[in-house]
């Protein structure tokens, strides 16, 4: 290998492994990430593939770094392709430049023009031939070896992952594939250099490897959820698939519903029964749940709906990320229906935010929508073990209700103790009709107003503490964002800081109820506000305009999915603006 360069600070190295579906690029990518994780690095991996249900083309997009990473980088240092079949379809997702290196198999033809025109260097390795030369081995293991060597991942780390994978069950596969990894590793020595990983010490503190979908599922359990009903939908299905066996283990249960209308009504029924409940869906399913969410608001039944956002509208782009369900989550219910909307701001935070949502929903007897997205949900990441925030779902219960029990009593906090079926003396009817304090239907203006006031009050009076947003940095420019744009914004701000430009970050975790005073506080002294989001119509920006008073000049940086908002775009916008 030529001159070794260390990867720049926290940016780490970015690697794409590509090839036809079935060539095993995902397996190779997973192993690479795991090896890096075990050796002490952080990292993440995005899976991307073509429209085919099986086969087609696929790529594993990785970023590995000595410091925590929360998004892909703007560019790739390295692309290794087993073949170039249809890889042009990923061109948008594979930003390369002259500093990048492409490694291809000369027997598989040339990379598509759309990649080469960027001046990227190309190196050739006869991957398939090498694999053929080792009977029983696969080209993706050659690829794994090449990747490890090029970025400076120790061979042993990779080998031990391969051993763990095949060592137990499929022993006959182990020897040839270990050999393939070694062969790939060795072949890389003559290849042009790419930046190498900064050295790390094996870490003492525990780390986890998981997806945001798993994290959300686990957060739900930590919050106390014991009943889940759901209907499969990309990219949310894995949450259900993770929760199904997990719930059984901890004494809960999951029902596969016939549709989303059933899911949401099932969990409302279960929660009426006193059991913290959750469902999981994506945009189309969330739309179907809107009517019953209104019932949960009116009847004050806590439930959590996890929406893993994908490209919209309609069926849209099911397997790609977009932050375009902000409006429906905030404003999609009929009538005046205040409720909670919470957005995790990292893969690890899918855990904390979901847990918090359960906690808040239960505390305020309100539906909560959690806005995750496909990037969070399906990306696998190495993260520090998230501390348990002890956000436990705990509902104010009417323990010894008497005959005069008022289910919807007009308390100061707005929260009225709830009687749980089975409790003698506490029987009442939960109702979606406008009702009085006892729950008896009423069409009187006074009752309607009193209950609307109460439901608004309970959300506004709650003390959300500092958890409502991540606030960082100083300066007269601020970036306001949420969800999976937080990662690229942080990256951009680190770059700006390196240039000496101070920028404030506000990543909002609590979208509803809006916290205008807290935001004003966070933005004190700010003159320029950049709002960053990944959708077409600026849904988050419009919401900020509606519910907050933003100081100074406000600009919107946005584009729809499937491409993420890159740190570079944000950085450029900030530096340009800071010069004005």
């Amino acid at each position: 290998m030529h001159d070794k360069v260390k990867a720049q600070g926290g940016r780490g190295v970015s690697i794409a492994l590509a090839g036809s579906g079935g060539a095993g690029v995902m397996t190779a990518g997973n192993m690479l990430l795991k090896a890096a994780a075990q050796a002490g690095w952080y990292g993440l991996m995005v899976r991307t593939s073509g429209p085919q249900i099986r086969g087609g083309e696929a790529a594993a997009l990785l970023r590995i770094s000595a410091e925590p990473v929360e998004c892909l980088d703007d560019r790739f240092d390295l692309v290794i392709a087993i073949d170039w079949q249809n890889i042009h379809r990923f061109a948008d997702e594979l930003p390369l430049d002259a500093g990048s290196l492409m490694v291809g198999d000369p027997d598989q033809g040339n990379p598509p023009e759309v990649l080469t025109q960027r001046g990227t260097r190309l190196a050739q390795v006869p991957i398939k031939k090498m694999a053929k030369a080792i009977p029983g081995s696969w080209p993706n293991m050659i690829m794994l070896g090449i990747a490890a060597a090029l970025v400076g991942l120790p061979l042993d780390a990779v080998k031990s992952v391969v051993e763990a994978a095949y060592g137990k069950k499929k022993k006959e596969l182990l020897t040839p594939n270990l050999a393939a990894v070694e062969a790939g590793f060795a072949s890389a020595q003559t290849l042009p250099a790419v930046p190498q990983l900064a050295a790390v010490e094996p870490t003492q503190t525990p780390r986890w490897l998981l997806t945001g979908n798993q994290a959300a599922g686990y957060g739900a359990l930590r919050g106390g959820v014991r009943f889940v009903a759901g209907y499969p939908i990309t990219p949310a299905t894995e949450v259900l698939e993770w929760l199904s066996p997990a719930l059984t283990k901890v004494g809960g249960t999951l029902l596969q519903a016939e549709d989303e209308l059933a899911s949401i009504n099932m969990i409302i029924g279960a929660s009426f029964g006193g059991v913290p409940s959750l469902t999981v869906t994506a945009g189309p399913g969330l739309a179907l749940m809107a009517e019953a969410l209104g019932l949960a608001v009116a009847a004050e039944v806590p439930v959590v709906v996890l929406d893993v956002m994908r490209g919209g509208p309609s069926t849209g782009i099911p397997a790609k990320s977009e932050q375009s369900d902000v409006s429906i989550a905030l404003f999609g219910l009929h009538g005046d229906a205040p409720h909670l909307v919470i957005a995790p701001n990292s893969i690890a935070d899918c855990l904390g935010a979901t847990q918090w949502a359960v906690h808040l929903a239960e505390a305020m007897q309100s539906p909560a929508i959690v806005l995750s997205d496909q990037f969070f949900g399906q990306t696998q990441a190495v993260v520090d073990r998230p501390a348990d925030m002890h956000f436990i779902g705990e509902r104010a219960k009417a323990s010894a209700p008497t005959e005069a029990y008022k289910r919807y009593a007009l308390t100061e906090s707005g929260v009225s103790p709830m009687s749980i079926p089975g409790t003698p003396g506490g029987a009442y009817t939960a109702d979606g009709l406008t009702h009085n304090e006892r729950g008896v239907p009423s069409s009187q203006a006074a009752d309607h107003l009193a209950q609307l006031d109460k439901r608004e009050r309970k959300l506004l009076r709650h003390d959300y503490g500092d958890y409502w947003a991540e606030i960082d940095g100083q300066g007269e420019i601020a970036v306001i964002t949420f969800g999976s744009c937080t990662g690229p914004v942080r990256d951009a701000l680190a770059r700006a800081a390196a240039d000496g430009i101070k920028v404030r970050l506000v990543s909002m975790r609590l979208l509803a109820p809006a916290q205008p005073e807290r935001l004003s506080e966070a933005l004190r002294g700010v003159k320029k506000v950049l709002v960053v989001e990944q959708n077409h119509s600026g849904q988050f920006h419009r919401y900020l305009r509606a519910d907050f008073d933003l100081p100074g000049e406000v600009r919107s940086l946005r584009h729809p999915g499937p491409l993420p908002i890159h740190a570079e775009e944000i950085y450029r916008k900030i530096t340009e603006w800071s010069l004005m």
Partner: protein, 279 residues
């Protein structure tokens, strides 16, 4: 059926009737159904706090608040979904789901199909008046094809929906028809339905005297079924396919095991699950 809390003093039907005055029209069949339900609860010696009555939207769906049980008056058509979630999460409760023909067979049709199939231990009562009462008189799936209304001048011309056949086809474990005009018989059948494990379906002919005054004539039409309760689905199918809509009785009673996923039997702590994420 869930274990009724066995208490010392026998409970009366009156103990299950709340103080709220129904919004129903004088003479509405639903008053009798309410009586039958409370009688059935008393027969089974249930306690109001251990019973949940779950409904959708419609005149008939107002019933939960007229009992002293825990009530859930949800959205139109989704009562079975809410009832299913409640029962699976709280298997200790007796859950009775109730509503109208529009609520259950029109907008709620899919949940009806899947509740029959799922066979959770619920009892589902439909107060069928062959009309949308609450919205003042549009045809429901069980409305006769020639019934005239503003929305369907000249009648719908549509074949009526056969709730019992559909219930059987989709796997309901207990299928009965009763007539609101016979509150005692109805109470007996409801009690039987609650007692029978799994999904029990009771279709109750409950006249809407306001919008379908001719239904007062049902008392002449309703008659006991000419065959005994069967547990053979094929036999039941043939019989029900030619049913005249006024056969009263328990028409099918199967032996399917109720569906109840293991709730509350977990052995692990949540923290134990962390292991799978550890590097």
């Amino acid at each position: 059926m869930s274990t009724a809390s066995v208490a010392a003093a026998p409970i009366t039907a009156a103990a299950f009737k709340s103080a709220y005055k129904p919004i129903w029209c004088p003479g509405c069949g639903d008053y009798s159904v309410l009586s039958s339900i409370t009688k059935a609860f008393a027969m089974l010696d249930l306690r109001p706090e251990n019973v949940a009555v779950v409904s959708g939207i419609g005149c008939s769906s107002r019933i939960p608040a007229y009992t002293t049980c825990y009530g859930f008056h949800g959205v139109h058509g989704r009562a079975l979904a809410a009832g299913t979630g409640l029962k699976v999460a709280r298997p200790d409760l007796t859950v009775l789901v109730a509503g109208g023909d529009g609520d259950g067979y029109s907008i709620g049709g899919n949940h009806f199909l899947h509740a029959c199939r799922r066979n959770v231990d619920l009892t589902y009562i439909v107060m069928d008046n062959h009309v949308y009462g609450m919205t003042k008189g549009q045809p429901s799936p069980t409305t006769e094809p020639d019934w005239e209304s503003k929305l369907s001048p000249g009648g719908t011309g549509l074949r009526t929906f056969h709730p019992l056949v559909v219930a059987l086809a989709s796997g309901a474990n207990f299928i009965a028809r009763t007539f609101a005009g016979d509150p005692n018989g109805t109470a007996q059948i409801i009690a039987d339905a609650i007692r029978t494990p799994g999904f029990s379906f009771v279709e109750i002919l409950s006249p809407c005297v306001t919008l379908r005054p001719e239904q007062r004539g049902w008392k002449e039409q309703a008659h006991p079924a000419s065959v005994a309760t069967t547990s053979d689905p094929a036999k039941a199918a043939r019989y029900l396919m030619t049913d005249d809509g006024f056969n009263i009785g328990v028409l099918y009673k199967g032996n399917r095991k109720p569906y109840q996923p293991p709730m509350g039997k977990g052995t692990k702590r949540v923290a134990d699950l962390e292991a799978e994420f550890s590097i």
